[in-house]
Subunit: 239 residues, 2 copies
Amino acid sequence: MANPTAAMLVIGDEILSGRTRDSNMHFLAGELTRHGIRLMEARVVADDHGAIVASVNALRARYDHVFTSGGIGPTHDDITADAIAAAFGVSISHRADAMALLQAHYDRAGLEFNEARQRMARIPEGASLIDNPVSTAPGFTMGNVHVMAGVPKIFEAMVASVLPKLTGGAPLLSQNLQVQRGEGEIAAEFGKLAAEFPDLSMGSYPFIRNGAHGTNLVIRGTDPARIDAAMSQLVRLFG
Amino acid sequence: MANPTAAMLVIGDEILSGRTRDSNMHFLAGELTRHGIRLMEARVVADDHGAIVASVNALRARYDHVFTSGGIGPTHDDITADAIAAAFGVSISHRADAMALLQAHYDRAGLEFNEARQRMARIPEGASLIDNPVSTAPGFTMGNVHVMAGVPKIFEAMVASVLPKLTGGAPLLSQNLQVQRGEGEIAAEFGKLAAEFPDLSMGSYPFIRNGAHGTNLVIRGTDPARIDAAMSQLVRLFG
């Protein structure tokens, strides 16, 4: 069976302005790989209704799953839930179960459950809630789109609650050989080896350390025996 | 004058598999902001010809500039130059000036200028070269698309050589107020202030530190006097 595919959509001006460095994409990439879901594409867009709607619709049509981060808080720049509703052409309203969760949370904390906080209970019609063990305000899954918070601690907790519910594929495995040679020196032989193993994906990633050129040679696939076979040949060539 | 717009395209399986954490996007975002160019969107795609061609064509039609990173080395998985040529519908070949640069570089280093290394002189018809002071192999600008290496040290050097040649806009300025309150507490007043300054962009970025909720309130724009005026009101409200 082919592995399910996914895309990520990071929503937030603060990433595009360079103020904040996104960490959610790297986290999700690792989790999906372990779960056997192929992350095929990631996009970062601004807090802009049209940009979010267009990206969500492009990505959800193309991939099995879309994971979004950011824009589901209580402030005026949190517009993701409305954009998702618009992308799916459904209505959005304060949902009773989300209202009850949040009401109980703010009661416990002795804080007012004000209008801004109530905005976080606005959920598109037909979505199911994603648990937020960190700060209660839920994410949601609408069709094949999983809408999660941007704060890394909350994003990571939401991924942990969503992923076990999704059908994964065979785990995506990889092995790495680091060589102290430049890419140009190993390229010809490495390319030939890659052509001999069309079922595997082979990549070379150069680095410069203390002024010396080195390369990480990575072999990826789902069949451990094939990866072992290719790695043995790689070690024989360059090890 | 409105600020020029830009998109970034990060090319590489290693980012999407979670093996490597991209740093070039964050670097470019900061540099563009200082240069007065608005980064509107970023995408990450795999080392896949069709994905690169489609993304380049979508982004170059929509924004003033597109900056790419990755896939211009000597190995079989370096397919960016060919994809750019295909996206523009032009031919690609070993270019004399790039060949001469690389030949001199490998002569100095006492290394063979082999077929794999010669691949790095393949440049789409009509492009201009981008200087690589780190390892010589050039990037290139084709139309409004600036094609650069993925290794951060080289990417950063190429950005430094490209940016001064581009027309920037008024610098994109920002001021930040950090408050030790949750977003839900400041949302109503902050939203009202944002509505009073439609020429500025205001964002709120929650964080959790030692279990306590805080928020960074950020005001962005190009007119320093307007940003000062908004920040004074923000400090009066929450300072």
